[in-house]
């Protein structure tokens, strides 16, 4: 009886916490977005600047996720399938972006490519622009999300061990064949999971992008930055309307994430047997 009471109490406490901290803010976004009616909402998200910002956000996300997936796949292969000195150190280096403020991530690219940066004269000579331009936004986003995929893969691949790969290599299989036939089926859900997390973060990155973007409307404004401008100019309804696009994407990502996690766990439990 007492046990039942304790468990109910704990569940209620946890549920209230999640409701107040996570669900109510989510509802706030939707409520404010629609509070002046459907028309205002529609015109806010049909605003050309909003659409351009959405495009830039998607572009940055796609490029970032593609490159970070490549990085994740190769770095996890190097770290989990081989023994070498400094392996632990390399793993730590990969985690650096998690320990550093996104604002600093933006700052370092300003220091390299900006007016005072050591690469600036080279860029000038070739008429290239990184800071306050799209490449800077993409670079900063890659920096911030670099570890996502490899962090998912490394523990999975280390737990799998090397014997299957060794067995295949002993029989003369090449690297690509080994990866496709033996490693990939094992890590595919983990890989997908990492990609989803990376996508979410890449689309929502604010601090780093805000430093390198320069906030040029219609040019270097991503959706999160566009929301900031709308909010600071007291266009509350528009800000929340645009936000609601991102909320919908976030919820889709959450659902996808849960499906992938469920499938991954199912596949994992079959492995054990």
């Amino acid at each position: 009886m007492k046990q039942k009471l304790v468990s109910s109490l704990l569940i209620i406490l946890g549920a209230v916490f999640i409701a107040v901290m996570l669900i109510v803010p989510l509802c706030t976004v939707l409520a404010y977005a629609l509070r002046q009616g459907w028309e205002t909402f529609a015109s806010a998200i049909r605003d050309p600047y909003a659409i351009k910002a959405l495009r830039l956000t998607l572009l940055a996300a796609v490029v970032t996720v593609a490159l970070n997936t490549v990085f994740g796949v190769f770095s996890s292969w190097a770290i989990s399938k081989f023994r070498f000195k400094g392996r632990q150190f390399l793993t730590t280096l990969i985690d650096i972006p998690f320990a550093i403020s996104p604002v600093i991530a933006g700052l370092v690219f300003v220091l390299v490519f900006g007016r005072i940066g050591w690469a600036y004269s080279f860029l000038q000579a070739h008429h290239l622009k990184v800071v306050f331009a799209v490449p800077g936004i993409i670079l900063a986003t890659i920096f911030v999300t670099l570890p996502f995929v490899s962090r998912e893969l490394i523990p999975l691949m280390q737990a799998q061990g090397n014997e299957e790969e060794e067995a295949a290599a002993l029989m003369g299989a090449g690297g690509f064949k080994i990866y496709r036939k033996i490693t990939l089926p094992h890590i595919k859900w983990g890989l997908l999971y990492g990609i989803i997390l990376c996508t979410a973060r890449a689309m929502g990155e604010f601090g780093a992008v805000s430093v390198v973007s320069g906030h040029l409307r219609g040019k270097t404004n991503t959706l999160p930055l566009h929301i900031e401008i709308l909010f600071n100019e007291f266009h509350l309804t528009a800000a929340f309307a645009v936000s609601s696009i991102l909320v919908v994407i976030a919820i889709m990502i959450l659902i996808l994430r849960n499906i992938v996690e469920y499938k991954g766990k199912k596949a994992g439990s079959e492995d054990v047997r």
Partner: protein
């Protein structure tokens, strides 16, 4: 000689896994590398396979030095300790993998795989995945997969370690028969002396990165040539002061002795044929061992272990007992010698 290792050295960090290892193996023989864990036996196997590189020394297979040859070109089949079956492939695809890599003809692959599946007796299970097989079945698939590309040399790392005790017995004789049938030169690693003695044509004992002794199971059992081999093989007990026993004098520089249950015969007091060669002891414990009784007796403060037939009247704890010791292995730090009980050699035994 088919496989030959010459002065192999291998270090892992500060750990010396191979310390001047040299031995050779005849074609067609089934050889067991036997040693306690950490003795370097798996390292030797992995170096022959090409999964590890020796720091120094030569590995020669069929007259060719293979040190610089990639593992996949050494013509070796390898059975991993935990089988390393490809868990996302069926039994058929697992066995076919090596042939597919060699880009063999589809029809040929099919026939070869079917032939191997018949050999391992898993007909009808081609479509199963590894997680749907029992331990023994997995082990057979791993064996077939290693054999599929027709290797010249088969290497097996602790082939029975992950299998239940009962299935293990069956699988041992199955593996021995199958390897004989296929006629392939094979080397397996084990820490279990019963397994090595039962399965191998020849045993190589490893200890602390060195080869201690090489020989047939019978020779190794009867004539250990190093102190370690004497202690490691059989159900051996170490005696610190063997001179206390009747019929054994201090011999040379030998300081300690090894005794095995089969060196001891127990009898009721006064019933021994060679009464003056026997010791008086007290039974401490009796254990039922299925096909025999294991009796622990205390002789002059030393605890000895002997086996008794179930046919005889069983000893009880605290029974006085007459203990006859036929022989001992005496050893010092680098030599072993078998000595017989001096009293038994006397030409004039005393009859009672």
């Amino acid at each position: 000689m088919y496989v030959k290792l010459e002065h192999i050295y291998k270090n892992f960090g500060g750990f010396r896994a191979s310390d001047d290892v040299s031995f050779s193996i005849e074609k067609g023989k089934l050889t067991g590398l036997l040693g306690p864990s950490g003795s370097g036996k798996t390292t030797i196997l992995r170096m022959i396979a090409g999964l590890e590189q020796p720091d120094a020394g030569d590995i020669i297979i069929d007259g060719v030095r293979v040190n610089d040859l990639p593992a996949s070109q050494r013509g070796i089949g390898f059975v991993f300790q935990n089988y390393a079956l490809f868990r996302y492939m069926t039994v058929f695809d697992n066995i076919a993998f090596g042939l597919e890599v060699q880009k063999k003809d589809k029809k040929f692959i099919k026939e070869r795989v079917q032939e191997l599946i018949r050999l391992i007796g898993l007909e009808g299970m081609e479509k199963r995945y590894p997680h749907q097989l029992s331990g023994g079945q997995k082990q057979r698939v791993a064996f077939a997969r290693a054999l599929a590309p027709n290797p010249h040399l088969l290497l097996l790392d602790e082939p029975f370690a992950a299998i239940d005790a009962k299935v293990r017995k069956e699988l041992r004789s199955w593996l021995r028969e199958t390897i004989n049938k296929v006629g392939i030169t094979s080397i397996f690693v084990t820490h279990d002396q019963d397994e090595a003695i039962e399965v191998a044509d020849e045993i190589i004992i490893t200890h602390q990165g060195r080869v201690e002794q090489k020989g047939s199971p019978a020779a190794i059992y009867k004539n250990p040539t190093t102190p370690f081999a004497a202690q490691f093989i059989g159900q051996s007990l170490i005696l610190d002061d063997y001179t206390k026993l009747h019929g054994f004098d201090k011999t040379g520089t030998y300081t300690q002795a090894v005794i095995r249950p089969e060196f001891i015969q127990l009898a009721r007091p006064g019933k021994h044929l060679y009464q003056n060669a026997a010791e008086d002891g007290i039974v401490e414990d009796v254990f039922f061992r299925g096909n025999s009784l294991e009796v622990r007796v205390n002789v002059k403060g030393m605890r000895l272990v002997a086996h008794c037939s179930l046919e005889e009247e069983a000893f009880q704890p605290d029974d006085p007992v007459s203990v006859l010791i036929y022989r001992l292995f005496l050893y010092n730090h680098d030599q072993v010698q078998l000595v017989e009980n001096r009293m038994l050699e006397d030409k004039n035994p005393v009859f009672i």
